[in-house]
């Protein structure tokens, strides 16, 4: 079995247009949530979100590329470009077939769908752009990354709602560990901040109209964000041989399924996924110093997740830091686990624990150290990153210091 390490990271989200900018914002506890600005927002009852602001595709892509790339593909390409640059990888003819792309997304090219349905149904047009299908398909972003970097090995896209990117990174980890590839660009992306996207979520009545306050007694729902994060996962031997800087080691991966309710979270499912990741990594619960929580800010998730963490860690839960960075970058749905992995790597590499901001008051059902409002300096040797999806599909990654 090969060891798997991370040798590059890239992102674009409401907190920043790069990994360093995003980590700096997390350290400062900056809020990326604000008023939504897209067309017809006045017809929504929920009008806040974590948008990527001041984003001009023309600064990054040619006119023809823009015609071919949905917003989610653009985000994924920029994150992948940054990750590849940082890794210093040169993909030659021998490495290309041993390199792939495994991404998670829940919405795929939703904005392309939204805009084109609007044009044929609302505006009565009878013609759409010929590339609507290849723009909107869920694997478009992974495909464009493979083309941009000449990666000809195993590639795929996974879609498990809010756990998509954790499932994707877990799959990338297992692929390299089992010898199926040397390099996998992996992570996740979503860009669903458009009228149709939010209208559907609004109907479910789990969105907050004012703020995302994970674990806080006055929390009242989630806030949606957008963006991407992509990492270079690499066989440890390969990374060592080329003298690459290693950001962290991917130590283990755990998955479980609730098999009970489509949307109501299960303590047992969350617990089994965390236990599975610890077991796979060969980590004792006491070795973990930080958990990046799923922490959506809904009543049900946060209460259930805290109970699951207590059940897994027992007495050690009192010494564990648990934060939800969704309070800053919003819930990026299929991309959220990837953006949150940046906080995990920052904890291991820089000894900075990202806070849970907008935290007002303790909730007895969430009585853990949630790193309220202000980042903290702390050395941690191992971390977990939780993702618990609608559909009852749970995916937890375990990372340790390089």
């Amino acid at each position: 079995m090969n060891r798997v390490v991370i040798t590059g990271q890239g992102t674009i989200n409401a907190l920043g247009a790069s990994a360093p900018e995003t980590c700096k914002a997390m350290q400062e506890g900056r809020l990326g949530i604000g008023p939504l600005t897209f067309r017809d927002v006045d017809r929504l009852s929920v009008r806040i979100g974590a948008e990527v602001r001041d984003f001009d595709p023309a600064n990054h892509f040619t006119r023809q590329e823009i015609a071919h790339f949905d917003r989610f593909t653009q985000f994924a390409l920029l994150a992948a470009r940054e990750a590849m640059e940082q890794s210093g990888l040169v993909v030659d003819a021998a490495l290309a077939p041993r390199s792939g792309v495994i991404l998670g997304t829940a919405g795929g090219g939703l904005q392309t769908q939204d805009a084109n349905y609007r044009s044929v149904y609302q505006e009565g047009k009878n013609r759409v752009h010929p590339l609507v299908v290849p723009r909107l398909m869920h694997n478009a972003a992974a495909a464009q990354i493979s083309i941009a970097h000449g990666l000809t090995g195993p590639s795929m896209t996974l879609s498990t709602a809010c756990a998509s990117s954790n499932h994707a990174m877990g799959q990338a980890f297992q692929t390299i560990r089992a010898g199926g590839a040397e390099i996998v660009l992996t992570g996740g992306v979503d860009a669903m901040l458009c009228f149709g996207g939010i209208k559907a979520w609004e109907a479910l009545r789990v969105l907050s109209a004012e703020a995302c306050r994970p674990f806080s007694a006055n929390r009242n729902g989630m806030v949606q964000g957008e963006g991407a994060a992509v990492f270079v996962f690499e066989n440890y031997v390969h990374a060592r041989a080329r003298g690459a800087e290693i950001l962290a080691e991917v130590a283990g991966f755990g998955m479980s399924t609730d098999a009970s309710d489509l949307v109501i979270p299960s303590q047992d499912g969350a617990m089994r996924a965390m236990q599975g990741a610890l077991l796979d990594a060969g980590l004792a619960p006491e070795a973990v110093g930080y958990v990046n929580a799923h922490g959506t800010g809904t009543r049900a998730n946060d209460r259930t997740e805290c109970a699951a963490i207590r059940a897994v860690f027992g007495e050690h839960a009192e010494h564990l830091m648990v934060s939800s960075t969704k309070s800053m970058h919003g819930h990026v749905i299929g991309g959220t686990g990837a953006i949150e992995l940046l906080a995990c790597i920052m904890a291991l590499k820089d000894g900075v624990i990202a806070p849970t901001i907008s935290y007002d008051a303790p909730d007895p059902d969430c009585a853990l150290d949630v790193v309220p409002n202000v980042a903290r300096q702390a050395r941690v040797a191992a971390v977990l990153s939780n993702a618990f999806a609608f559909g009852g599909m749970n995916a937890v990654l375990a990372l340790r210091q390089a």
């Binding site: 009852s45 479910l204 789990v206 929390r219 009242n220 729902g221 949307v263 009543r299």
Partner: protein
């Protein structure tokens, strides 16, 4: 008006709960009828569609307050909203 509003609301709640309208007691809480918060979100949606009104219904308050309202209180709220709409 009120009798027909009442009959429509109770039959829509009954349909969501897989019960007969006569089994919907006004003093019952949704959960006593087997309706969890998501089922109530669905029931509220069908009632909003039936009367073309917007019913404030929050699954995310600290107390889960709206969901703890009994059927009679919900009915009174809906009758008021339908009444307001008729006055416009």
């Amino acid at each position: 008006m009120s009798a027909s509003v009442r009959n429509t609301v109770l039959s829509l709640i009954a349909e969501q709960a897989f019960l007969d309208p006569s089994e919907i007691r006004l003093d019952a809480l949704p959960e006593e009828l087997g309706l969890d918060s998501l089922s109530m979100v669905e029931a509220i949606f069908t009632i909003e569609e039936a009367f073309d009104i917007s019913i404030p219904f929050d699954t995310q308050t600290a107390e889960g307050a709206s969901n703890q309202k009994n059927i009679g209180a919900l009915l009174a709220q809906i009758e008021a909203l339908v009444g307001e709409k008729a006055e416009i």
